[in-house]
């Protein structure tokens, strides 16, 4: 499985990681090696086998839908990098999309 620099840039964008040139070079090589190793799973013909997403056969765990106290706002914001009243403050959301389009 050959991984190209473009693959790495595409996946990094999906994963919201701004990688350095050095990281891009290293990951291009390493991801190729790792994908070749894990690609081993495709050797098996498993068309009749159902997938497992969870190790226990537990389904539909319900509880009564009753209001309960949640964390006080002061606790919610205790670790916030920037707070604006009862909101988390972030810079404008549109700029990066326009510039990278």
């Amino acid at each position: 499985m050959a991984i190209t620099r473009e693959d790495v840039l595409h996946v990094a964008a999906l994963a919201q990681l701004e990688l350095s040139e050095q990281e891009i070079a290293r990951l291009t090589e390493q991801l190729g090696d790792i994908l070749e190793a894990v690609g081993k799973v495709s050797e098996l013909d498993l068309s009749d086998v159902p997938p497992t997403s969870h190790p226990l056969s537990v389904v539909n765990v319900f509880r009564p839908d009753e209001p309960r106290p949640c964390l006080p706002l002061e606790d919610v914001f205790a670790n916030a990098p920037e707070r604006d009243g009862d909101h988390f403050r972030v810079p404008p959301t549109g700029v990066a999309e326009e510039s990278s389009a």
């Binding site: 999906l14 790792i34 894990v38 226990l56 765990v61 404008p92």
Partner: protein
Amino acid sequence: MTLDTLRLTAEEAKGLLERREVSGAELRAAYREAIDTRNEELNCFLTLVDADENDGVPIALKDVISTKGVRTTAGSKILDEYVPVFDSTVADRCKAAGLQLLGKTNTDEFAMGSSTENSAYGPTRNPWDPERVPGGSGGGSAAAVSAGLAAWALGSDTGGSIKQPSALCGNVGLRPTYGTVSRYGIVAFASSLDQVGPVTKTVRDNALLYGIISGRDDRDSTTVEVPAVELPEAEDLKGLRVGVPRELNQAEGIEPGVAESVRRAIDLCAELGAQVGECELPRSVEYGLACYYLIAPAEASSNLARYDGVRYGLRVPADSYHELVARTRDAGFGDEPKRRIMLGTYALSAGYYEAYYGQAQKVRTVIAREFESAFESFDVLMSPTSPTVAFKIGEKSGNPLAMYLTDVLTIPPNMAGLPGLSIPCGLSEGLPVGLQLIGPQFSENTLFRAGHALERAIGFDTVPERLR
């Protein structure tokens, strides 16, 4: 009274407290003294807790376990200053049982690793040989117990992060059945695999601590009711059917000294009255690692999306939101989390999902069925926990695939949600060898019983030779 924390088991400490032969404060002081003496060399603790209102047996918690008011980093710079405003259920249950918290232990970043070298806070060193790794990701907890810096500890195990460091440090480590211990408040890595469990000096200590932390929790809907924990007493294995899976015992890369030590322990099972036979797991071992390194990174890439510099954790300022998120994540995550996020994102991306993630989920079914079939004939399966003894710091850190291979024997049962207990079974090259006992789901009591009888018969000295 002089307390030798290197020798004192948690059960003995509990007895001393109950008989009022020692106070909680004296006990704490003894562990603090051991920490002051040895932690600088070993780097087991990331955060020390100076005082605790409880006065029970002192415990250390891996730093992926949220502790209210006590910094919880997950070994990452992205959570360097993060102080949880709530307790995880396991921390809460330890508190309710009166255990006093000594501190938070070192881990590979987000529990991703097998050597604790991926911690953003430097590697932990193995108390048996400080030039070597303690295993990982829970190397801090394992080294702390082994060096007498805590009476017992909790770790978390996704691909082997309790079992493997326990093996490399000469401890008893249990990765419980998936769903028996709450994941509420645990820094998530791969949610269908993550499980918290005890790291201890003895099997009985392990059963005691598992009894404290296990059981259904309304805050984690994947938890279930758990059979009452029985403290093991029997010193024989009469009636127990022990299976020796060929592939788990003859896998490439198992060191001869490790194989020999495990072989002796299995022979001992027969002497103790067990029926021992061979069995097969033809595809579980061959495809287990590949299956794991698709599913775990896929789940990790989703779980780690939450670190965006908005609600908590590191923030690298930028002019736009998207730049802020991408820069924060680049600056905050180390190499291994980035590698796994990239791998997982790739495996889940359009065009590759079925071939990688979808296929891995089917392999997972194959693995579960193979174990199910083995358990029709056997109560417990045995193998080495790790193919090697503790390796040198730096030996594998430059080669991700070589590092991933260290989990080749612990991963297959984890994929099937099975419990696994690692107990020390001897030395190879002067370093501890771990024996892995695997049982069907919810068979912890059987594992404790078998582990206890073997522990007695083996008579392994858990104190590192250089500290005796």
